[in-house]
C-alpha cells in the first residue's frame, strides 16, 4: 500500500491541488465578494457579510479546512523552497524570473494572510463592534495609505502566485506539454492574473472611494 500510494508523489500532487482548489478557489470568491464593497456600507454589511455568511453552512468547518489547506500548502512549500538555489543573476530568462517570483510571492502571501486574518477575522471574533460593522473596520484600515500599499502588494502577490501556480500545475500534471500549449496557457494565466488583481484593487477602492 505504502508503495502504491507513493507518499512523495502524493505530497507534491496535494501541494498543487490544495493551492488550486481550496486556497485559490477561496481567493477568487473572497475578492469577488469584497469587490461588492462599492455598493456601500449598508449593502456590504447586510448582504455580503450577513447574507453570504448566512448562506454558508458549516462555516467553522469550512474555515478550519481552509486553514489546514493553507498550512499544508505553506509548510510543504517551505520544503520546496528549501530545495532551490535561484540563479536569476546568471540566467536572465523569463521562466527563471517567474521561478524566483513564485518563491518570493509565497512568502509575501503567507505574511499577508497572517496579518490580514489577525486584523480582520480574529479582530471581529474578539470585538463585537468590529463584527457588526466590518465595512467601517475596513474603511479605517484603508485610512492609512501604508495599509493601502501593503494590501495592494499583498493581493497582487497572492494573485500572481495563484495564476503562475496554475501555469505550473498545467505542466506538472501533464496538461500542457508542448511549448505552444505552455505559451497559450501563459496568456490565459496572465489574463486571470489581471482580472483577479483588478477585483482586489476594486475591493480596496470600494471601501474608501476617495482613494483613487
Amino acid at each position: 500500500m505504502a508503495d502504491s500510494l507513493n507518499a512523495h508523489f502524493l505530497s507534491r500532487k496535494l501541494h498543487s491541488l490544495t493551492g488550486l482548489v481550496p486556497v485559490g478557489g477561496f481567493l477568487l470568491f473572497h475578492l469577488w465578494e469584497n469587490s461588492m464593497a462599492r455598493k456601500g456600507e449598508q449593502f456590504y454589511n447586510e448582504h455580503v457579510v450577513q447574507g453570504i455568511g448566512d448562506l454558508l453552512n458549516y462555516k467553522l468547518a469550512i474555515e478550519l479546512c481552509l486553514g489546514a489547506a493553507i498550512l499544508f500548502h505553506g509548510v510543504y512549500g517551505l520544503v520546496v523552497w528549501w530545495q532551490g538555489r535561484s540563479n536569476t543573476r546568471r540566467f536572465r530568462y523569463g521562466g527563471n524570473l517567474r521561478y524566483l517570483l513564485q518563491r518570493i510571492t509565497a512568502f509575501t502571501t503567507l505574511a499577508f494572510i497572517l496579518w490580514h486574518v489577525i486584523t480582520t477575522r480574529i479582530a471581529a471574533g474578539l470585538d463585537e463592534a468590529v463584527e457588526n460593522n466590518l465595512f467601517l473596520h475596513m474603511q479605517r484600515i484603508y485610512e492609512d495609505p501604508v495599509n493601502v500599499v501593503l494590501y495592494i502588494v499583498g493581493i497582487a502577490g497572492a494573485t500572481f502566485h495563484l495564476a503562475n501556480g496554475l501555469w505550473l500545475l498545467g505542466i506538472n500534471w501533464g496538461l500542457t506539454t508542448h511549448p505552444r500549449a505552455q505559451k497559450l496557457s501563459m496568456w490565459a494565466c496572465t489574463a486571470l492574473f489581471v482580472v483577479i488583481t483588478f477585483l482586489g484593487v476594486h475591493a480596496i477602492w470600494g471601501f474608501n472611494q476617495r482613494l483613487f
Binding site: 512523495h8 508523489f9 521562466g95 505542466i171 501533464g174 506539454t177
Partner: protein
C-alpha cells in the same frame, strides 16, 4: 572590431578536489580561428602565466572536437557551453574559463560527472535486448513522426549544461536533472524500451525525480543540442500522473 594582438585568459584553477580554487591569468598571441580547446592546448605547450612564472599546465577534458561528446563543457565567460565550439574571435576579453559549478572539481576545469551517469543508471536509460521475447524477429516499426521526435532526445551528450543552469540541481539536492529525464522520455517511447516504462516512471516518481523540477525552464535555453527538455518534462508529468493513478486505482 580591431584584431587584438593577443588573447587574455582568466582561468579558475584548483589543484585538487579538496583545495581552494584560485584565479590565474594567461596570454596567448593572436591567431585567427582559435577555439577554447585549441587555446588550452597552446597553454599546455606554454604553461607560463601572465606574471611570467612557469606553472602546472591547466587541466581540462575534451574528446570529439565537434560538439557531440560533451566532455569539454565548461563556463566560458559565465555561459555553460562546449569549449570546442566556443570560437575565440568575437568573445569579449578577458576570456574567463571556469569549471561547471554544480559538479565536484577534479582538477582545474576537469569535473566529476559521475552523478549524471548514476542518474542514467537509476532511470534505466537503455533498451533491454534480452527481454524474454524472440530477438530473431524484426525490430518493431517506429513511425517517421515518432522517429523525428525521438531523434531530438537521442542527441543528448550528457555534457551537464542543463544541470548547470537548473536552479533545482546543485550539490545539496537530490534532483537528477533535466538530461536523465529526457532519456526517460526517449526510452519510454521505444517499442521495446516501453517494456520497462513502468519501472522508469517509478524511478522518477520519488524524491529527486520529476516532481523536483521547478519549471524555471533554463535547461532548454542553454542546451547546446537544442533538445526540447521542457517538452520531455511536460510529457513525463502526464506519464507519471497517469502511472500514479494506475498505481492507486488499477492494482
Amino acid at each position: 572590431m580591431a584584431t587584438p594582438q593577443e588573447f587574455l585568459f582568466r582561468i579558475k584553477r584548483q589543484d585538487s578536489p579538496d583545495t581552494a580554487p584560485y584565479w590565474e591569468q594567461f596570454r596567448m598571441p593572436y591567431a585567427p580561428g582559435h577555439n577554447v580547446v585549441s587555446a588550452l592546448m597552446y597553454l599546455r605547450e606554454h604553461p607560463v602565466n601572465s606574471a611570467g612564472n612557469k606553472v602546472a599546465p591547466v587541466v581540462w577534458e575534451c574528446n570529439c572536437m565537434e560538439e557531440v561528446c560533451g566532455a569539454c563543457a565548461m563556463l566560458v565567460n559565465g555561459v555553460p557551453r562546449q569549449a570546442c565550439a566556443a570560437l575565440l574571435d568575437g568573445l569579449p576579453q578577458p576570456i574567463v574559463l571556469e569549471p561547471l559549478s554544480k559538479f565536484r572539481v577534479v582538477r582545474d576545469l576537469q569535473i566529476d560527472r559521475s552523478r549524471m551517469f548514476e542518474a542514467l543508471k537509476k532511470v534505466k536509460a537503455w533498451i533491454r535486448l534480452d527481454h524474454g521475447g524472440d530477438i530473431h524477429r524484426h525490430a518493431p516499426l517506429i513511425s517517421p513522426d515518432e522517429q523525428d521526435a525521438r531523434y531530438l532526445f537521442s542527441r543528448c551528450m550528457t555534457c551537464g549544461c542543463c544541470m548547470e543552469a537548473c536552479p533545482q540541481f546543485h550539490q545539496n539536492s537530490t534532483f537528477i536533472g533535466p538530461a536523465p529525464l529526457a532519456q526517460v522520455r526517449l526510452h519510454n517511447s521505444h517499442p521495446t524500451g516501453a517494456y520497462d516504462k513502468e519501472e522508469r516512471l517509478h524511478a522518477i516518481m520519488g524524491e529527486g525525480g520529476i516532481t523536483d523540477c521547478g519549471n524555471a525552464q533554463n535547461c532548454v535555453q542553454v542546451c547546446p543540442k537544442e533538445i526540447p527538455l521542457t517538452t520531455a518534462i511536460g510529457e513525463l508529468g502526464r506519464q507519471t500522473t497517469a502511472q500514479w493513478l494506475r498505481d492507486l486505482f488499477a492494482r
